[in-house]
């Protein structure tokens, strides 16, 4: 069995590789030790706390998250990945602009030490993107946030502000709910829907 693999991927929009890597390398180590992307946090190292959550962009299924601590480079090989470093947008001058989720976490004072925050940002971002593909009724939003973020562990904040921040972004963003902003309820009713 080959002990090393040739690895290529697109990470935060940049082509990486081909690189010669140990075949049993985990993603968190690739990011931190080989690519100097140190925003992905390592905590439990066994897929439990979600601190190390990164996003995989699948052309067919859309985005989903994996724990970088226990996801090997052999799974990511050839795929497209986003880490916390790739979440913010850019303004006209090329300066970073926080994403709506990042902004909401700041506005809600959602984090304290921030160790868990990159994981929360990625988990919440993937949730928003899922709702873009499959909007839900607004009365199911709380449950959806809980279901998506429940696995993220935070030792500082008590979670409430994180939850409120994500819920507010979902309820105020057009297209994420079937009956929220951007859906013209009267027009739909008239059309008999």
């Amino acid at each position: 069995m080959a002990e090393r693999i040739s690895f290529s991927a697109t990470i935060n929009g940049q082509k990486i590789g081909p690189m010669d890597l140990p075949q049993d390398l985990m993603m968190v180590e690739l990011l931190q030790e080989y690519l100097n992307l140190t925003g992905t946090r390592l905590s439990c190292g066994q897929g439990v706390c979600s601190a190390c959550t990164i996003i995989i962009d699948d052309p067919d299924k859309g985005s989903y998250t994996v724990p970088a601590c226990v996801t090997g480079v052999t799974w990511v090989n050839g795929r497209t990945v986003r880490t916390i470093e790739g979440i913010a947008g850019r303004d006209d001058q090329g300066n970073p602009v926080p994403s709506p989720i990042q902004m909401a976490f700041l506005e809600h004072f959602a984090f304290q030490c921030s160790y868990c925050t990159p994981g929360f940002v990625n988990g919440a971002t993937a949730l928003i993107e899922r709702l873009q593909r499959q909007p839900i009724p607004s009365d199911q939003v709380e449950a959806a946030v809980l279901e998506a973020l429940d696995r993220h562990i935070c030792r500082c904040t008590g979670y409430v502000r994180y939850y409120e921040a994500v819920r507010d972004v979902i309820l105020s963003t057009p297209g994420l709910t079937t009956d929220g902003p951007g859906t013209d309820v009267t027009a739909m009713q008239e059309a008999g829907q």
Binding site: M1, A2, I5, Q23, D24, M26, Q46, G47, V48, K61, Y64, V66, P67, C69, V70, T71, G72, V73, T74, W75, V76, N77
Partner: protein, 422 residues
């Protein structure tokens, strides 16, 4: 034409007579052994001793496995569905509630229900109640169980109607089934006096065969006792001694598995997890060792070692393993204590039928408090990440690398396994 009609008529008549006879043989009153004690004149100490024994019987017979209330609160108030090919059957309320439970029953009623599947008034129980196994319960144990049950808090919760399809929703029809498949009650006499306790626990109270023994078309247990069976979408493995030895079991590990829910060979999953929490974790090591010795009359001498791969391992399977599994289970499959099981000697990859392996990978396993302080963290579900082809690659790889199974599992088998699960 007339002759044909006559023959048909005679056949119908014969059919009716035969069914009538069958009905009669099985519904006639079978003699039951008399009560083992005089309930009216029990001394307090004798009463307490029997209640204690009754609690042991309830654990060993795993009443709660089916009669527990899934909404919580009581292990005996009923409502848990058992999914059969004929539809769902719901566990009943066996608390001493006078309206909804068994509060009006006497000890003879309980014996008839447990050993024969007949409730008061001659109403048939469905053989989801394992009376084909319990029929050898001793009258003493049935009476002790009766006293213990009557001491439990009554819960006034109505029973839920079964969702069975026609004709299985006709209770009287069970009489025919009973005539053909129900053994008469015969209080326990050990076939193997060397280990009567093990036999009684496995074959009678523990009713292991109800899941682990293949069933025939009429859903009755076949003679292939404990030969393994797919039930409720999972494979209940072959428990015959040679099969256990082949999968690397020894008596000590088996007892530990029943005690704590975990051993190097695997962790309690699917319907065995409730069996652990309601039943086997409550049994003493004397009982568990008797079970292990009954299942494995010879203690194997061999050390528990990973077997050599059963064929060439595919690079795709290996990449999937290192990409998704090795982070927790280790590149060498050795696992980590309390978080991820060993795979190198795990028996799930050794079964001929891959259904359990596919389902565990697809559905994950919730984090669990097993028993006696043993616990395991959650295993994530990979069903959404893997196509059937990738799952087949991975499952084939695991089975070849550690399971001694050289056969390739196909994507169609994976799809089939996932379908059976739901």
């Amino acid at each position: 034409m007339i002759t044909a009609l006559r023959i048909l008529g005679v056949l119908v008549l014969l059919g009716i007579i035969a069914s009538g006879l069958l009905f009669w043989t099985s519904s006639r009153d079978v003699q039951i052994p008399p009560a083992s004690v005089d309930f009216a004149s029990l001394s307090p100490s004798e009463h307490d001793r029997l209640v204690e024994r009754g609690e042991w019987v309830a654990h060993a017979a795993d009443c709660a496995a089916c009669h527990t209330d899934p909404s919580g609160g009581s292990d005996l108030a009923g409502g848990l569905p058992m999914v059969t090919p004929m539809g769902a059957i719901y566990g009943t309320n066996i608390t001493p509630s006078r309206t909804y439970g068994i509060g009006e029953w006497d000890a003879d009623d309980l014996y008839r229900a447990v050993a024969m599947g007949i409730a008061p008034g001659g109403r048939n129980l469905y053989p989801a109640m394992p009376y084909p196994s319990y029929h050898r319960i001793t009258r003493e144990d049935s009476d002790a169980l009766y006293l213990w049950l009557m001491q439990q808090p009554p819960v006034d919760k109505p029973n839920r109607r079964n969702d069975l399809i026609f004709p299985f929703n006709l209770r009287p029809a069970v009489t025919f089934w009973n005539a053909l498949f129900r053994p008469d009650p015969e209080p326990f006499v050990a076939r193997d006096p060397q280990n009567a306790q093990g036999e009684y626990l496995v074959d009678v109270l523990g009713h292991c065969g109800e899941c682990h023994t293949p069933r025939n078309l009429a859903y009755a247990l076949t003679d292939d006792h404990l030969a393994g069976n797919v039930i409720e979408g999972a494979y209940a493995p072959d428990l015959r001694a040679d099969a256990l030895v082949r999968r690397g079991w020894n008596r000590d590990d088996l007892s530990q598995f029943l005690h704590r829910g975990l051993s190097p060979q695997g962790v309690m999953t699917f319907r065995m997890f409730p069996v652990l929490s309601h039943s086997t974790s409550h049994l003493s090591f004397d009982d568990l060792d008797a079970i292990s010795a009954y299942l494995m009359p010879q203690q194997p001498e061999t050390e528990l070692l990973a077997r050599p791969p059963a064929g060439a391992l595919s690079a795709e399977g290996h990449a999937l393993y290192t990409g998704l599994c090795a982070g927790c289970h280790g590149e060498d499959g050795r696992g980590q204590p309390h978080s991820s099981v060993r795979l190198d000697v795990n028996t799930t990859a050794m079964f001929d039928n891959p259904i359990n392996l596919v389902r565990v990978i697809a559905e994950g396993i919730p984090e669990r408090d097993l028993a006696h302080g043993e616990r395991m963290q959650a295993m994530p579900a990979f069903g959404d990440m893997l196509s059937d082809t990738e799952m087949a690659e991975l499952v084939t790889y695991l089975r070849k690398r550690w399971g001694g199974q050289s056969a390739e599992v196909s994507a169609a088998q994976v799809a089939d396994a996932l379908k059976q699960a739901h």
